[in-house]
């Protein structure tokens, strides 16, 4: 195992703190936090179970709603999701720490001697139908898992050498490690019925036409792999990087010390990726890191919490400036020229930068992936789907970042994968309900067994 290279910015709760924090939950009725969670985890219920030392029960609540509940606990922007809706936030400006409690519960489960899938999910008998899933990212794995639980034989095609998608290649290493991700991937595959084919790329190793003829349904969880360009002179110089691609290098580097780290770093963009690369470069030793965003700070898609996190790491955030040119300097470093957007004077300034990172978004790669099959795209260049996540081609579904509209969140991708599994099941089995079985029926059987034996005892004692 690699040494931890980045310090975790949000430490896990220990058992005592988890217990104290869990006691803060009011167990709201029709809880706002549940509604604010894209996967609708029953948050008050899992917190109550932590409070009552029923940690397996807590993990069941979380993972049945969100099979990647462990990763989401670490990377979700809880300050704009569940925790923003927490009634304690209204009452006292301090929500219950739902994310950290979820991490505690899932860590306890995964760190138990044998994190048994059957404690959470039980796979239905194989139904003889086959589904292809393209992309082993959050959407693809979630869909594959949901389908496998329903009894499908699922083949997951992944272009890269490891499964996990952006979880493995894109998330900030100070939030989640590769070990965490692979542990989760293995657990998900552990439900059975899922074959993972790594290093198999759509359009290179197989085509959509092929999948359509070989499987009963196809799910595309492709992600976004083309990088937007700034369209300014100097953009192609050495030392100018796509942030997401560099984060991938950081995450996969055998020796982080071998990565190039500039003393002065400029990051262009305003989303989570900009924040992540800025903090990572700072932690890797950059002396000065400046994020520059074209509009006001409030318009950045990075949350105020994320911005504060970056500032606490010493990152400078400048707003209202757009890059116009990247100059080279004789010593090999650069200078980025910006134009202020809040003045009509066209005032310009330059920032020196040994490295420049572009974090301005990614788009769907438009290689000829489909073969003869043509999928409709939206105006924003993502795959168009209907309410059931079905594309313009019957039997081909899509979800995650590659569809529109997307919020580029792991948790949304997981939810879409879960819903896609139900949609595919409903389409292939029109007479059955598309509900994912999760072992709950088993539990309710057990419950009725208990109540029956109680009643038996009662009637005996009344003889």
């Amino acid at each position: 195992m690699k040494e931890p290279l980045f310090c975790e910015l949000k430490a896990p709760l220990d058992a005592r703190s988890a217990k104290v924090e869990s006691s803060r939950c009011y167990y709201c009725y029709d809880a706002p936090c549940i509604q604010a969670c894209p996967t609708q985890i029953d948050i008050p219920s899992f917190i109550r179970k932590i409070s009552n030392d029923n940690l397996l029960g807590a993990a069941q609540d979380i993972l049945r709603a969100n099979v990647m509940g462990g990763t989401c606990a670490r990377v979700c922007p809880v300050e704009v999701l569940c925790q923003s809706a927490c009634v304690r936030e209204i009452g006292e400006d301090k929500s219950v720490e739902i994310g950290r409690l979820q991490r505690f519960a899932t860590d306890q489960f995964f760190e138990s001697a044998q994190p048994q899938m059957e404690k959470i999910f039980q796979r239905a008998p194989a139904n003889g139908k086959k589904v292809a899933v393209v992309g082993a990212g959050p959407a693809g794995l979630s869909a594959a898992h949901g389908l496998a639980v329903l009894g499908y034989e699922v083949t997951v095609y992944e272009a890269r050498a490891k499964a996990g998608g952006l979880n493995e290649y894109g998330l900030a290493p100070y939030k989640v490690t590769s070990e965490d991700i692979q542990r989760e991937v293995n657990w998900i595959l552990g439900v059975g019925g899922i074959e993972l084919r790594l290093n198999s790329a759509l359009g290179i190793d197989f085509t959509l036409d092929h999948l359509r003829t070989s499987y009963d349904a196809v799910f595309l969880g492709l992600g976004l792999h083309a990088f937007r360009s700034l369209g300014i002179p100097g953009e192609d110089r050495d030392g100018v990087y796509d942030a997401a691609r560099f984060i991938e290098r950081i995450r996969q580097a055998p020796r982080v010390a071998d990565l190039p780290v500039g003393r002065t770093v400029v990051v262009i963009g305003g989303g989570s990726t900009a924040i992540d690369i800025a903090i990572e470069m700072k932690q890797l030793g950059a002396e000065s890191v400046t994020i520059v965003y074209r509009s006001s700070e409030e318009k950045m898609s990075a949350t105020s919490h994320e911005r504060e996190l970056a500032r606490n790491q010493g990152v400078v955030i400048r707003s209202h400036a757009r890059p116009t040119q990247i100059f080279g300097k004789p010593n090999g470093s650069h200078s980025v020229e910006f134009e202020r957007t809040d003045r009509c004077t066209g005032e310009r300034f330059e920032l020196p930068a040994e490295q420049v990172f572009k974090a301005i978004g990614q788009t769907l790669e438009t290689r000829q992936w489909w073969g003869q099959t043509q999928l409709h795209l939206t105006a924003s260049g993502r795959i168009a789907v209907n309410e059931e996540f079905e594309t313009s081609v019957p039997g081909v579904f899509a979800g995650g970042d590659c569809i529109a509209p997307g919020d580029d969140l792991t948790v949304s991708a997981v939810q879409q994968g879960k819903l896609v599994a139900q949609a595919i099941h409903a389409q292939l089995n029109p007479m059955e309900k598309g509900e994912v079985k999760d072992g709950r029926s088993h539990l309710s059987d057990r419950r009725s067994e208990i109540s029956q034996s109680f009643l038996a005892g009662f009637s005996t004692s009344n003889g």
């Binding site: 009011y26 709201c28 009725y29 029709d30 809880a31 706002p32 923003s84 009634v87 209204i90």
Partner: protein, 416 residues
């Protein structure tokens, strides 16, 4: 008998030894009831003695013990009592006693107590575990005739004031209270601890506290027992036979407000134990200053103005006004939208709260609003009691109707 303040430490581990009691007096406690003395040879105590009930992260909501009376020799205790009383002449020093239920035994020990200079004695007729199986403690307190007899012996053989400490492990507290009064008791102390198994260790399948994997019932005390104690204090204060007898109130008193409640129901002073065992003797500062500041704010000039003040308002159910009406009112500006009032009323009460869809505006969109259906609300208080934001008030309604007790209600077939 003098005491610089009405706060005494009850007979228990905190008053077991000179070192504890002097620490308490230095901290400012007004008096102590020394941990119960018995005859030689002293009792033997077990290892592992206390258990507790916590609730939602709070420790010691309820507390119990399986400890017996003082396990030191009578001579050691008496010497220390004498010394402490000499060092702290302004503090009340009451000695708790428990000996076999025979005249000679009580007569013998009283003489020895008088020699210490103590201010009074408290008869431990309440300890519910260990001693009761030997015919002492609660075994005496549960039989009014014994209570009266022992009290009478003590009054006959000492001129020291006699407090009789009652057990709550009885159906009607007025019976032993009346017996104590008939026996000549100068005051009544209550409550002693309540029979309890405070919890089970589900792995050992043993009660806690456990002694080598087995346990026994113990005496329950702490904040959880206060309501039981308040009722018993009020019962004695309202009873025609016992009304007016000085009461030393005991049972879960943790702060000045608890003390004020006991006094308003007729306690002349109060005894504290669990709160001191939880936080140490320093809590006396808040007890005295809190009570004093509150009394000043309410214009009570002395404790006698407060003592028994609430007793006239403690009445039989039959005397309550059936025409009185109150309903819940939610302060929407303070509501945090948790929905607990709604689900409690909907699931378990009167379906008198309405859930309204989310407010417009993004930040509030997950939150519902809750409104009281005035016509359906019976003013039961449940919503106000559970509201974590304290934003529900139960508001008295003007009905224009006269006082109507059950004794005169048309639906009462036996009305007068």
């Amino acid at each position: 008998m003098k005491s610089p303040n009405p706060f005494w430490l009850a007979s228990a581990p905190p008053t077991d030894k000179k070192i504890n009691v002097e620490r308490a007096f230095r901290a400012g406690w007004g008096g102590v009831v020394w941990k119960t003395l018995g005859e030689n040879p002293p009792v033997v105590n077990v290892s592992s003695r206390y258990g507790a009930v916590g609730w939602n992260g709070q420790k010691m909501m309820g507390f119990n013990n399986i400890e017996l009376i003082s396990d030191r020799t009578l001579e050691v205790n008496l010497a220390e009592i004498k010394e402490v009383k000499r060092n702290w002449p302004d503090r009340a020093m009451i000695i708790s006693l428990m000996v076999p239920c025979q005249e000679e035994n009580w007569k013998n020990i009283l003489k020895k107590i008088e020699d210490t200079g103590a201010d009074g004695i408290e008869l431990n007729l309440g300890c519910p575990h260990g001693m009761s199986e030997r015919g002492m403690g609660a075994a005496v307190g549960q039989v009014p005739e014994y209570v009266e007899q022992v009290t009478r012996w003590c009054k006959a053989y000492t001129r020291m004031p006699v407090f009789v400490k009652l057990t709550p492990n009885i159906t009607d507290i007025r019976m032993p209270a009346r017996a104590a009064k008939r026996g000549g008791a100068d005051a009544i102390s209550l409550i002693n601890t309540i029979n309890s198994i405070v919890g089970l260790d589900l792995e050992r399948m043993s009660p806690v506290p456990h002694v080598g994997g087995r346990g026994t019932h113990g005496g329950y005390c702490g904040p959880a027992v206060k309501p039981i104690a308040l009722n018993m204090v009020a019962e004695i204060g309202r009873d025609s036979e016992t009304r007016g007898i000085p009461i030393s109130g005991i049972g879960g008193i943790s702060n000045w407000r608890d003390a004020a409640e006991f006094m308003a129901l007729g306690s002349q002073n109060v005894q504290v134990c669990t709160a001191a065992m939880h936080y140490g003797f320093k809590i006396i500062e808040d007890l005295t200053s809190g009570l004093s500041n509150w009394m000043d704010s309410q214009d009570y000039r002395c404790l006698q103005d407060l003592i028994g003040k609430a007793l006239p308002n403690v009445v039989h159910w039959n005397e309550l006004d059936l025409n009185y009406k109150s309903i819940a009112k939610i302060d929407q500006s303070q509501c945090i939208h948790c929905g607990l009032c709604y689900v409690a009323c909907e699931d378990t009460s009167h379906q008198a709260i309405e859930k309204k869809s989310a407010l417009s505006g993004l930040s509030q969109s997950f939150h519902s609003n809750y409104e009281v259906k005035n016509d359906d609300c019976v003013g039961c208080n449940l919503c106000a009691l559970i509201c974590p934001a304290d934003c529900i008030e139960i508001v008295p309604q003007e009905t224009g109707k006269d006082y109507l007790p059950w004794t005169r209600h048309p639906q009462n077939l036996l009305r007068t």
